[in-house]
Symmetry: C2
């Protein structure tokens, strides 16, 4: 049968652009071998880490998808099963089942696409990343990319735990959403605000936790100027740097880390993978009770993966960006 | 009576030099008020942090000393008592007792000057700093300024706990001491070795713990090139940077911290002050059993404080540098 995949046509260097990607059609065997299943993408994720992680030219772009089993020779995965798979940007793929994970918690009536967002890797990143920082009521947490898939959840979880939240976003719409609907204490549009001056104003004694999705100037300036004694920094992403062709130079941070006895955590969420279902059960309850609000930017059609991905770096998306593969045999909401 | 103090004559800027210090004589009242004691320095400490911590021009240089009570109107501190005090570079001082601490453990026959070194702040820094990094047998720890007051203890404690130790020092004598007497696995003289090449050679798969007394190039290069997954970095000092007039710029470290899930601890030893006596009791036993070896660089005479201090930045000292104030009324060993 004919399948499609987006390959890394040319290694990233500097700003990601059209040249890095190529949509190719290819043949999948018509006959399955014993234990094999044929899966078809339902929703696919685009996330900034796909710019960062190593990949070889010619390989499919890396990434996770929610897929439906449409043909099977594996009793564990009957036709119609839904599975999560880290198989990259492919419209269809064949698996022996070893790289397929059913949804590991009771999703109830929550939209399935959330398994790639708030109830998937980005949501787990927010949940376990914040936990790693040992947040305490009345502490101040600052989060960048605050309207994004991770940041919007970090801020809401922090609010629910009694912290004060300062968020930075890149548009007035995002600002309004975070302030008026998510209830963050202070939200600034970094495009018309100096983030350091803004932080000095709303947190003159410094912040306790910096949840860093941005890197670059934010990481260095916040460590050197805005952390309280015993503050914690979670290094979660560095979108400001991913497209740098030549690495920029920055002020050293080590003396500030020393003098304020800061702790800096490099955080990857897969270390807590076993505990995800427990976190998702808790967060799904909050979603049902309207205590966690979710926005998705849904792109329709597998052919729009590239556009959705490049949108991440242009700040096009509020909340989680996902791509709905309309060629799925079943229509999922 | 006449007393002497070294004052900060001119704020540090760039390389510390003669101009920053002035030895002045001044009068202390002859009569003590109720509860007051008159103390006379016996041993004084010089440490790199004295370059870093804020101080005002005209104030005594900051620092700790072991002093003897030579006059008293305070029953808690009879004549001849020995006390530790953070009162700066002063030959004599009057106190109401609130800033005096008796030696808080049984020092036995160990030299008293060790209370400013291995059984004082630098030793506690090594002990609790290493502990903070959660060291495990067979892990590799790298320590800079490895023949110094902190580094020499870090390396020995790590060896005693079954780790492999790579140390960097600044002279052949220091190298021999660390390698032949302290038993470090690999020791390099950074003056004739490229530290990054040396690390690649002896720890091709990276190091687990970096105990950073140096900062600057070491901090940035080791984080970016030499840490194993889940490595820990203890930021303890930054002697390479203290004398920088204009802060240097460095490569960002945050993406490496993220990708290798590193943890960076800014560490100040006073947070564990209550537990120091327990650590010193343990280390004093190791000293008595010759399992911890100690070198001191003893400068004689209060007038030599400046020389001892400047020697820290010239790499003059092996082990702990202390100044013996020979005007003490009692002769301590």
């Amino acid at each position: 049968m004919k399948a499609q995949k987006w390959i890394l046509a040319k290694k990233f260097s500097g700003q990601a652009n059209d040249e890095n990607f190529k949509l190719v059609e290819y043949d999948l065997p018509e006959e399955l071998q014993p234990n094999e299943v044929l899966c078809q993408a339902v929703y696919l994720s685009v996330d900034p880490y796909m710019r960062l992680f190593p990949n070889a030219e010619g390989n499919p772009m890396i990434g996770e998808q929610l897929a439906e089993v449409i043909k099977t020779k594996n009793g564990e995965f009957p036709i119609g099963s839904l599975v999560l798979a880290n198989v990259g940007w492919q419209s269809h793929f064949i698996s022996k089942g070893d790289n397929l994970t059913p949804i590991r918690f009771d999703i109830g009536s929550t939209p399935l696409s959330y398994t790639l967002g708030i109830l998937g890797m980005p949501g787990a990143t927010a949940y376990f990343g914040l936990k790693r920082c040992d947040p305490k009521p009345n502490e101040i947490v600052c989060v960048t990319a605050a309207a994004g898939a991770v940041g919007s959840v970090v801020g809401q979880l922090a609010k629910a735990q009694g912290l004060k939240v300062v968020g930075f976003v890149g548009s007035e719409d995002k600002l309004k959403w975070c302030r008026d609907e998510l209830g963050f204490d202070h939200v600034f549009n970094y495009k018309n605000t100096n983030f350091s001056e803004a932080l000095s104003k709303v947190a003159p004694e410094g912040i306790d936790i910096y949840f860093d999705n941005t890197g670059g100037d934010y990481y260095h300036t916040i460590i050197n100027k805005h952390m309280k004694k015993h503050g914690r920094i979670l290094v979660c992403g560095s979108i400001q740097n991913y497209n740098d062709k030549e690495p920029k130079k920055f002020d050293a941070t080590n003396i500030s880390i020393l003098m304020n006895e800061l702790t800096v955590y490099g955080f990857m969420v897969y270390s807590s993978y076993e505990k995800w279902p427990q976190a998702f059960t808790e967060m799904n309850k909050m979603i049902q009770e309207n205590k966690l609000k979710v926005k998705e930017q849904v792109y329709t059609g597998f052919e729009n993966m590239k556009e959705a991905f490049l949108g991440l770096f242009k700040g096009d998306n509020t909340g989680k960006a996902v791509v709905k593969a309309v060629n799925a045999s079943t229509n999922y909401p």
